[in-house]
């Protein structure tokens, strides 16, 4: 695997006269720890939706593991190894966290149509689900409760575990720390830094603390276009980046 895991070329999305994403060319290397930042309204969310296939591109292309997927629908991209988490939690309130991950694992393993044997007779599903919950450091005590009554930070962990159950090669993390109270954000941070190294991660995040701890490469988006792209140190020193944020936010910690 030498080529980039995920690559866009001139990716553009217009809504009427407004260009939300403007000729963005971005390359996420295999196994990368890549962050995408930018001020509000920079087009980050639209860009993620173009990558995942939730909305079609106006122009340009998306390649996943060297294959053009610009025209492929969302579920086809999932099958080819692109998984994402959602900015607003999209979970199964009535299922337990363990049941939800078992569901995700069984669908990925092609066992979702099995009706002639109970889940409890398929220990491999449960083992894999538990391994995924371990991976994101989801506490054992909460795995059989109702997802709807979990703390917000825990729901974020579950969200990440569900995405990992797809066995992705590329993982889009859409603001994993958004809305998480400070007391729980460390859990999310630990889960994100413990992600397997063979998965390329593109992190879309507002929390600069998380970005600079995690990322080995940062792309800055402003007004729909790439403003800067490089190592965290270089990005933190870049005067254009500072200007884009209008000094309202402190960039980096060194």
């Amino acid at each position: 695997m030498s080529g980039p895991a995920l690559q866009t070329q001139g990716l553009t999305r217009r809504f009427g006269a407004f260009t939300a994403v403007d000729k963005v060319s971005l390359s996420v290397a295999a196994g990368a720890r890549h962050a995408l930042i930018g001020p509000n309204g920079a087009g980050k969310t639209t860009f993620v939706n173009l990558l995942s296939g939730a909305i079609p591109a106006t122009a340009g292309s998306v390649a996943l593991l060297g294959e053009d997927v610009t025209a492929a629908p969302q579920h086809a991209r999932v099958r080819r190894g692109l998984a994402r988490t959602f900015q607003v939690n999209q979970l199964f309130a009535e299922l337990s966290p363990r049941e939800a991950v078992v569901l995700a694992v069984s669908e990925r393993a092609g066992a979702g149509g099995t009706w002639w044997r109970p889940v409890s007779s398929m220990p491999a599903l449960r083992r894999e689900a538990d391994a995924l919950l371990d991976l994101v450091r989801f506490p054992i005590a909460g795995r059989d409760g109702r997802t709807g009554s979990l703390a917000y930070g825990r729901q974020r962990l579950l969200e990440i575990a569900l995405a990992l159950a797809m066995k992705p090669r590329v993982l889009l993390l859409d603001e994993p720390a958004a809305g998480v109270p400070p007391a729980e954000s460390r859990e999310v941070l630990e889960a994100v830094s413990a992600l397997p190294r063979d998965v390329a991660v593109l992190l879309i995040e507002h929390d600069m603390d998380l970005v600079f701890r995690f990322a080995e490469r940062i792309t800055v988006l402003a007004q729909g276009a790439v403003l800067a792209d490089g190592e965290p140190g270089a990005i933190a020193r870049d005067p254009r980046v500072k200007e884009a944020y209008l000094g309202t936010m402190e960039i980096g910690h060194g």
Binding site: Q74, H75, V78, R79, R84, F86, Q90, L91, F92, A93, E94, L95, E99, A100, V102, L103, A104, S106, E107, R108, A111, G112, G113, T114, W115, W116, R117, P118, V119, S120, M122, L125, L162, A165, M166
Partner: protein
Amino acid sequence: MRVLLHAVPWLAAIAAYFLMPERLPLLSSIAIAALFTVSLDLIVGYAGVVTLGQAAFFGAGAYTAGLLAQNGWGEPLSGLLAAAAVAAVLGLVTAPLVLRSGALAGLMVTLGLGLMLYEAANKAAAITGGADGLQGVEVWPVLGVFRFDLYGQTAYLYSLAVLFVLFWLAKLIVASPYGLSLRGINGNPRRAPALGVPVKTRLTVAYALAAAYAGVAGALLAQTTAFVSLDALSFQRSADGLLMLVLGGLGSLYGALIGAAAFTLAHHALSEASPIFWQFWLGIALIALALYGRGGLMGLLRKLMPRGAGS
């Protein structure tokens, strides 16, 4: 402990056979209502597709078994299979219409299909007997041995045995990965596809499966009473089934059994006391359950039972 709890409803059903020999027709109607409620629980409680037209499948099954027996094939088990097959095919054909749009539109489609089938059966009097009902249904002995007797002994034990087998099949299905995916779709239909769940296919299968269950329930009624009336297709039957389900507790198969039994017994007792007024008491019971008893009678039972025993 758990095993004993699972045996309770069935032991009660068998005890009832000996304790109330003069009430066997009532007991049979409970078993049939329970199977119908299980069918509704599969599609409404687990898959989350609300329907007002489940009686269409009940009636289709009843007329299938009834017509077979009327026209010289009275073998009961193959009659059940034929009824299941006809109802399932009807379910498969109509599923795209029901699942196509939003919940309210789907509800209207199920209602419309139910009304259409009722009117069609009414008009096709040459075949169905119309408002007079289907006469001359002759059902052979079960397994070639057990004749349907005047007291309804065979009718009850036969209905109970079919309910038992299909109940445990339903138990297996809802505990399977397929059943889990239905609960996932029910819980969050927008997220499920992101996990690779083919939502349309899964719901179509569930709809046809529930239709087959309802068809078997209808066939049981036709075979055990040797008669089919338009009642089998009536909107009232669909509505009663939903009431039994809500009364017993949505998404719990035992709830379906309890709801059907409680509803049928209450109907019987209250309508003997005051024939017209019984729906008033039913109304009060439903409002009380909606306000205080989320999870229906099954939810109440769970609260009363020691922790961990009622799942």
